[in-house]
């Protein structure tokens, strides 16, 4: 009886999730078909050819775009981690009006959408004579990551890094820099993982800032290279290649997710749910 009830539950959950993932499953199956084989997309996986992938690979300059994506994401995330861990340290440790103000001041930036302020942002960057290059979006990736990352770091330092860990270093008269980088920062690894994942995923997937600042095809990261397929989504004859491009674009993150799954799911909840 219990077994029967369990299998019914399993069937129901699987059905629910398969319906949920159906758009992705059909797209994957279609991307593995040849251009001629387009009818009946519901006959799943009745052909395996990498023809569409080859076409998409060249059309989006995959290797170039992948390298660009990696450079943008790694550079931004490294700087975000350094800047926001540093900023959170005094905010969490000092109990003054300034630190309370800074906490709210940083966090409130979260509600402002970047599309809303994009005009004055472009003006500011031009005004500072910062050349529009493939690296310009990094400035905005860092800026937009500050609210949430500093929020995570502050919460974590307050709740999990007691002041006592710095005791011996304080007695030794170690300077501020050494105390932070040698003692506090290494203890922040769990929340750093969370910052790297939450910010890394949005930066990797962002097309908006790239679209604003990058105009040369050779400098495009993956999501921006996808913009080149705009229009194909309403053209059924181009779907196989479009879907192949979609999966090529998502592949790097899916591979990383496959290996580091528990960090992705755990990272999302650090600091967001009180124990």
């Amino acid at each position: 009886m219990k077994l029967a009830k369990q299998s019914v539950t399993h069937v129901l959950i699987s059905a629910l999730l398969i319906i949920n993932l159906l758009p992705l499953i059909i797209a994957l199956s279609s991307s593995l078909r040849s251009i001629k084989n387009m009818t009946n997309p519901l006959l799943l996986f009745n052909e395996f050819t990498l023809e569409s992938y080859r076409a998409a690979f060249t059309k989006m300059h995959f290797m170039q775009a992948l390298t660009n994506s990696l450079v943008l994401t790694v550079a931004s995330v490294v700087i975000v981690v350094i800047f926001t861990a540093m900023a959170a340290y005094p905010i969490a440790r000092l109990n003054s009006r300034i630190s309370k103000f800074l906490y709210i001041f940083f966090l409130s930036g979260l509600v402002v959408p970047s599309q809303m302020v994009i005009i004055p942002i472009v003006q500011t960057i031009q005004g500072l004579h910062i050349p529009s290059s493939q690296y310009t979006p990094i400035l905005m990736f860092i800026t937009c990551s500050i609210p949430f990352s500093s929020f995570l770091y502050t919460g974590f330092i307050k709740s999990s890094i007691p002041i006592e860990v710095e005791e011996s270093a304080l007695i030794d008269g170690a300077g501020l820099l050494r105390r932070f980088w040698q003692i506090v920062f290494p203890l922040l690894i769990p929340v750093t993982v969370s910052v790297v994942i939450t910010q890394g995923v949005w930066i990797w997937n962002d097309y908006f800032f790239n679209m604003i600042f990058i105009s040369k095809a050779a400098q495009s990261p993956l999501p921006l290279a996808m913009l080149g397929f705009m229009g194909d989504q309403t053209n059924p004859t181009a779907w196989n290649v479009l879907f192949a491009a979609c999966f090529l674009c998502a592949l790097p993150l899916l591979v990383i997710f496959a290996f580091l799954q528990k960090f992705f799911i755990g990272g999302l909840t650090v600091g967001s749910v009180k124990g």
């Binding site: 539950t9 399993h10 999730l17 949920n20 758009p23 992705l24 059909i26 797209a27 519901l42 350094i82 540093m86 900023a87 340290y89 005094p90 000092l94 109990n95 003054s96 300034i98 800074l102 940083f106 509600v111 402002v112 959408p113 599309q115 809303m116 302020v117 005009i119 004055p120 003006q123 500011t124 860092i142 800026t143 937009c144 500050i146 002041i163 005791e167 304080l170 501020l176 995923v201 990797w204 997937n205 097309y207 908006f208 993956l222 999501p223 989504q233 779907w239 479009l242 879907f243 979609c246 998502a250 899916l254 997710f257 992705f264 799911i265 999302l268 909840t269 749910v273 009180k274 124990g275």
Partner: protein
């Protein structure tokens, strides 16, 4: 030990982040207010101050009203359904059955895709005649060919909101699940001993213990809903007519297609006021409720 040993010199550590934040975020937000009362077009640096003409025009043309209405409907539908669906999903995945890890992974996968990829794939789902929905309906001998959810004025907004919900469910489910896992098992056992049925246990023990997770998910979904841009931009470009034009799509189009930076900034100021009002109201309300719970 207290902050006596923690010197004020620590504040130097805030400088790099604060500098970026001020220069590239706060100053641009303030500049919006300045541009909003000018006829700035983005090219000619000498612009005139024209008072509240931009605002008057936005309201007279009905632009502010319609994009505000679209954004609010989008937000409401998104907040209600993304939280309901993911709360149910979290309860299901929290059951003591095997393979929940696998199910959780399956639920989480859509969140990994770029909005642009999601937009493309869902355009295919909604395509009339040969799209996924049409094909499935035809398969069941229902007339799916005429179904054009994205092209019909009355359904387009709900169709794109569905996409946002689909993409977001994985994230909120994981947060709800983490909240559910903090519910102490002995509390549930005690409830059972007292003769509570499973609905009572859910209502009286699990939901109150989920207060933090609910606050976080509601706040995040309100913020995300008000930021609606990606799917109208990628899938419908605000159409048909102005059916899916949200505030941010309008700001973007007025600025970069019509080259009216002043007018776009005025709409940005309106959006800013709306976003601040709504989020502050709900954050304060939710936090108050959570403390008293």
């Amino acid at each position: 030990m207290n902050s006596a040993v923690m010197k004020k010199t620590m504040y130097w550590f805030v400088i790099p982040a604060l500098a970026f934040y001020l220069v590239f975020w706060i100053v641009p937000i303030l500049k919006l207010f300045q541009y909003s009362v000018t006829d700035y077009n983005g090219f000619v640096q000498s612009y005139k101050y024209i008072g509240f003409d931009n605002f008057k025009q936005l309201f007279k043309d009905g632009i502010a009203g319609s994009s505000l209405a679209n954004t609010l409907i989008y937000t409401l539908v998104f907040v209600v359904f993304s939280n309901l669906v993911s709360l149910c999903l979290a309860f299901i995945l929290n059951m003591k059955i095997r393979a929940t890890g696998l199910y959780r992974t399956a639920a989480y996968i859509p969140t990994l895709f770029s909005a642009i990829v999601v937009g493309f794939i869902w355009s295919y789902v909604y395509m009339p005649e040969s799209g996924l929905l049409a094909t499935v309906l035809n398969w069941f001998h229902l007339n799916g060919s005429d179904l054009n959810l994205l092209g019909t004025y009355g359904t387009a907004l709900y169709a794109i909101t569905t996409v946002e919900i689909w993409k977001h469910i994985g994230t909120s489910t994981v947060i709800f699940l983490a909240g559910l896992q903090t519910v102490p098992q002995d509390m549930i056992e005690a409830g059972k001993m007292d003769g509570a049925n499973s609905w009572q246990i859910t209502k009286l023990i699990r939901l109150p213990m989920l207060a933090t997770a609910i606050t976080i998910n509601f706040t995040l979904s309100i913020i995300n809903g008000l930021k609606a841009f990606d799917y109208p931009f990628i899938m419908t470009n605000g159409g048909p007519g102005r059916a899916t034009t949200t505030l941010l799509v309008d700001i973007f189009n007025i600025a970069f297609k019509e080259q009216q930076f002043g007018k776009a900034s005025a709409l940005a100021v309106i959006s800013f006021a709306v976003i601040i009002l709504i989020t502050t109201y709900f954050v304060l309300k939710l936090n108050k409720r959570e403390v008293s719970a």
